[in-house]
Symmetry: C2
Subunit: 155 residues, 2 copies
């Protein structure tokens, strides 16, 4: 028999959930992320994936990173922008973002409101890789990416 305790129903209130811990991120010295919190909504030995909720405060941003595993993202609240590879996109509630393997990505709360999104990810996955100085220079050589990373995306 299964000995795991699973609460069948956890209520939501204002982007917090019963029994779900809020995990703040610290500031990062290289400013690779800022003002973002994480909540792990679903994680279970029987589930092949986890579902997390990230919330980026105004002017904040998620880690600029890439990895072998994919991200499947659904925006839950607010507007903002994201970088996926070489593309910068404006995000609205319920938009879907697919981050393919080994693709640089970042989410930014660029519109003065919090940007909150769900992220589905394989439970078994590799660690993210952070950009080297050379990677950052290559990204910033593209003006629309430089503007995004500077918090001033074009549209």
């Amino acid at each position: 028999m299964d000995e795991i305790t699973r609460t069948p129903h956890r209520r939501a209130r204002d982007y917090r959930w019963d029994e779900v811990e809020l995990r703040p991120y610290k500031e990062d010295a290289r400013a690779l992320f800022r003002d973002i919190t994480r909540q792990l909504l679903f994680s279970d030995p029987e589930l092949a994936s986890e579902l997390r909720y990230f919330e980026v405060a105004p002017e904040g941003f998620s880690t600029l990173e890439r990895h072998a595993h994919m991200h499947a993202v659904l925006v839950l609240r607010g507007h903002g922008h994201c970088l996926i590879g070489n593309e910068v996109r404006r995000l609205s509630p319920h938009d879907l973002v697919t981050v393919p393997p080994w693709t640089w990505h970042q989410f930014r709360a660029t519109t003065g409101e919090p940007l909150g999104f769900l992220c589905m990810v394989n439970a078994a996955r590799d660690k993210p890789a952070l950009p080297s100085d050379a990677d950052l220079a290559a990204l910033k050589a593209q003006p629309h990416i430089a503007a995004f990373l500077d918090g001033k995306p074009a549209d």
Copy 2:
């Protein structure tokens, strides 16, 4: 190299998404489900799970079923009720529902508005089992479940 085409950004509008097909369910002779649509938001060989969006029209309900695999549900819109095992719960936006293995479950739009929810599920999973007449009788022997299945949950 990866040959899969993955659209990085798919826009949402009114609970429909770019490039996502709406799959209506037919009426079921035994009234095990009614007035529910399905949209497959994320499915990819690199993702261990799928993310689907189900929307139940007012008075409609999802299939009453159980299976070895789990469901991880987040309510995206509306209110309603669900059955999980022997528990009937009232649902509000962003509430989380965990359906453990082999647990009878159903979602109902009981409040005159659509009930829409995300459901994360393992990509590799078993087929749902439907209740036998004996299963249904056993469920209906519990008054709060009988009321739920009759579309009249207590709270």
